[in-house]
């Protein structure tokens, strides 16, 4: 059962990274326009070359 001393911190750490990523997404206003973002991904505008 000693493996738990590694696995539990690891699982908490990974979960924590996910939580921080969520905070970052929230802070940078990525939840302001869910409908628009869903549509934006389907645009073909910059498929061939990156946005200048």
């Amino acid at each position: 059962m000693e493996i738990l001393t590694i696995l539990i911190p690891v699982s908490l750490l990974l979960g924590g990274i996910g939580l921080l990523a969520f905070f970052w997404a929230l802070k940078t206003k990525q939840f302001e326009d869910p409908q628009g973002d869903a549509a934006r991904i389907l645009k073909t505008d910059y498929d061939d070359h990156p946005k200048p």
Partner: protein, 730 residues
């Protein structure tokens, strides 16, 4: 203004004070006089897809001076960063050229929804609760599947380390609202919720200290998570409705052109005083009550009175604020501005109607009112009984009463209503209906009487010629040629309807208030009012053309709003009683009523009579749905049990109504009635479902057989069931 105050109060709906919207407030006017920043905001009601976004963004970025443009599809608007010399007025025609209708929005008014702090905060708490729930659940599963002694204690300790800070942080909205309701001596839904969360956390901590078998950390965190999800859905629905309602309010900018010693200046309406002279351009709206001192024109009174026929205005004519000037420029001496204007008197009527309306108690409130005392009673009863039964085992008794609180906690109840309302209002938004008030759907479901306004509601308020095929070809050609020179609504309608080649006319000139005159082969031809043209006036909307000494009447009928027939037919099929109440003359009202098959109708109604009629129906026990658009309907809209107005309606009418029809098509109104009935049924079903879970789980908890596993199962399964049931909405 009600809208502006709503942000701070949080729970105040935009329709809280329709009376305030009738007359623009000082705050709003102060905001308008502030210099506008370069950040522009435009409303794009027709944008709906990925291609729309690309077209609009690329189109705007090609404009010199524009740095960036970004479309927000959820809110249907575009924000533009541009140099100060780029104005919204210059961007609107560009967007129109791309095929998108656009309106300027007041960024000062909009800033509050742009930074939706409350929503982000809730989402952050929801994220934290979700993270904690998953981790604690992982550890709990290990305990439930048989981890013993030291391992169990360790897992409980780790759970505590995750759960306690989470509860403190994420549970704050509940604690705050519970404290607020306790202070005024009420037992809201949040009191048992807070009690359950706090009791579950502290009893689990105590058990962990004493190496107990049962800890409810997972239940406490799950409770917070599910309830926050409900709270967030609720907030989201309200925020979208609020921003859209406010967007509509921002469309009209209350300004007037004042003329002092021949110099024109643009001022806010509140700056006008009695005796001032204002200039009203053709197509403009009268800013004040006044008397025409010079100029000839016609005024459209339909929004104020419901009359479909424009009236002549010349020196000496009294005009009222809100009327639209049609053909020629008018100079108007202000007789009443602000408080004394007819607009303000209308506001008083609205305020009276609002105050006599009984407040609607939503299903959720009624459920909470019955539920909270019952939950507390059960929990305390269980505590008392087990204290007595075990001979004073405090630890055991508290454990049981905590379990009862956790199991009965209205987890599903907190989700039951928001999930359904979100699903329903999302569905209706896509159909072009905006639900401004959360309880509007429930009220709509109870409606048994529908009262319509005519002009602008069942009809579009735009006339179309009806007897073109009965006119001689040459007269038609002349009429088309003449009509092309005017912006009068009848002339515009005529130009649109006539397909043939217009006659070659010379010396075209408009005589404001009368019509258009020109010469054809040296002979005078005229299009306009009967007496001017020399024809006998007919008793319906018509314009007259004079060609070769002969006069012809071109008759017009107001065009029916698309979908009006479908909506009326669907309502009749649903067994609703219908009534048409109009301020217009009796002939067009009777005509429309028979065309749509509405048997009860009344014409020539004044605003006060409309309110009285609605109130009379309500006194007979009817639940009235009022659909109207004009200022003359505003008070009746406020009085009615639930009300709908089209987006083309005046500010005040839209603010007074619970639901706004965003598109032109009226057919969605019938859908709204159906969806409202369905969603109310779903809400009741959801209450039933969560009650059923309680009926099974509560006796177990009371008997002391509840385990954390059972609590977790009951809670998550019931929450998921009610959410799925809400999604069944068609």
């Amino acid at each position: 203004m009600a809208l502006a105050d709503g942000y701070d109060a949080g729970h105040v709906s935009p329709s809280a004070c329709p009376a305030c919207a009738v007359a623009p407030s000082a705050e709003r006017l102060a905001e308008l006089s502030r210099p506008v920043s370069a950040r522009l905001m435009l409303s794009l009601p027709t944008a709906h897809c990925a291609a729309c976004m690309s077209t609009v963004e690329n189109g705007l970025q090609a404009v010199p001076g524009v740095q960036s443009a970004r479309v927000n599809l959820t809110l249907r608007r575009v924000s533009v960063d541009a140099d100060p010399e780029v104005t919204a007025e210059s961007l609107i025609p560009i967007l129109a050229g791309l095929g998108y209708e656009a309106h300027e929005l007041d960024p000062g008014l909009l800033s509050a929804t742009e930074t939706d702090k409350q929503g982000r905060e809730l989402l952050m708490r929801l994220g934290v609760a979700g993270f904690a729930m998953m981790n604690v659940m992982l550890l709990s599963v290990a305990v439930w599947s048989g981890a013993g002694d030291a391992t169990r204690d360790l897992f409980h300790w780790i759970s505590a380390a995750i759960a306690l800070p989470t509860v403190v942080f994420a549970g704050q909205p509940f604690f705050k609202s519970a404290w607020a309701s306790l202070r005024v001596g009420r037992l809201g839904m949040d009191v048992p919720i807070s009690l359950a969360i706090i009791l579950a956390s502290s009893i689990s901590l105590f058990e962990t200290f004493n190496s107990g078998h049962h800890a409810y950390f997972d239940a406490a965190v799950m409770l917070v998570f599910f309830l926050l999800a409900g709270r967030y859905l609720d907030h989201r629905t309200r925020a979208v409705a609020r921003s859209a309602a406010e967007e509509l309010a921002a469309l009209e900018v209350p300004r007037a052109i004042r003329v002092v010693d021949g110099v024109e200046e643009t001022v806010t309406i509140s700056a006008l005083a009695v005796g001032d002279t204002v200039r009203v351009r053709p197509g403009g709206r009268m800013p004040v009550d006044g008397e025409v001192i010079s100029g000839m024109s016609e005024v459209d009174r339909s929004l104020l009175t419901g009359e479909s026929l424009p009236a002549v205005a010349g020196p000496g004519t009294m005009v009222a604020a809100g009327e639209i000037n049609l053909t020629g420029p008018l100079m108007v001496r202000v007789i009443a501005a602000g408080r004394d204007s007819s607009l303000h008197r209308m506001a008083d009527l609205v305020a009276v109607a609002e105050s006599t309306k009984t407040k609607y108690t939503s299903l959720a409130e009624r459920a909470a009112r019955a539920y909270s005392p019952l939950v507390h009673l059960l929990s305390f009863g269980a505590f008392g009984y087990w204290m007595w039964a075990t001979g004073g085992d405090l630890r055991y008794a508290i454990n049981i009463s905590a379990a009862v609180l956790i199991i009965t906690c209205p987890c599903a109840l907190g989700l039951a209503v928001p999930a359904v309302v979100t699903a329903a209002s999302g569905k209706l938004f896509r159909k072009g209906l905006l639900i401004k008030d959360g309880t509007a759907l429930e009220r709509l479901a109870e409606v048994d009487y529908v009262v319509f306004d005519k002009t602008g509601t069942l009809t579009l308020g735009t006339p179309t010629p009806t007897n073109l095929d009965m006119l001689p070809q040459d007269a038609l050609a002349v009429a088309a040629g003449l009509a092309a020179g005017s912006s009068h609504p009848l002339a515009v309608a005529l130009t649109r309807a006539v397909t043939g080649q217009p006659a070659p006319l010379t010396d075209l000139r408009e005589v404001p208030g009368y019509g258009i005159e020109a010469r054809l082969n040296g002979e005078t031809v005229r299009l306009g009012r009967a007496e001017w043209v020399g024809a006998a006036p007919a008793d319906e909307t018509a314009t007259y053309v004079l060609v070769a000494g002969e006069t012809h009447a071109i008759k017009f009928a107001d065009k029916l709003r698309p979908g009006a027939e479908t909506a009326v037919a669907a309502m009749k099929a649903a067994g609703l009683r219908l009534m048409l109440l109009s301020g217009d003359a009796s002939a067009p009202v009777a005509d429309l009523a028979t065309r749509l098959g509405i048997t009860e109708f009344a014409a020539g109604k004044l605003p006060a009579e409309k309110v009285a009629q609605v109130r009379a129906l309500q006194d007979q026990g009817h639940k009235v749905l009022m659909i109207g658009d004009g200022l003359n309907d505003t008070a009746a809209l406020a009085q009615a049990y639930v009300s709908i107005s089209p987006a083309s309606a005046l500010d005040a009418a839209r603010t007074a109504s619970d639901i706004v029809l965003l598109g032109q098509d009226m057919a969605p109104v019938a859908d709204a009635l159906r969806i409202a009935k369905q969603s109310t049924r779903r809400i009741r079903e959801n209450f039933g479902l969560s009650a059923a879970y309680n009926v099974v789980a509560v006796p177990l908890a009371l008997m002391g057989l509840a385990t954390p596993l059972l609590a977790a199962l009951a809670m998550s399964v019931s929450s998921i069931t009610v959410s799925l049931n809400a999604l069944r909405l068609r």
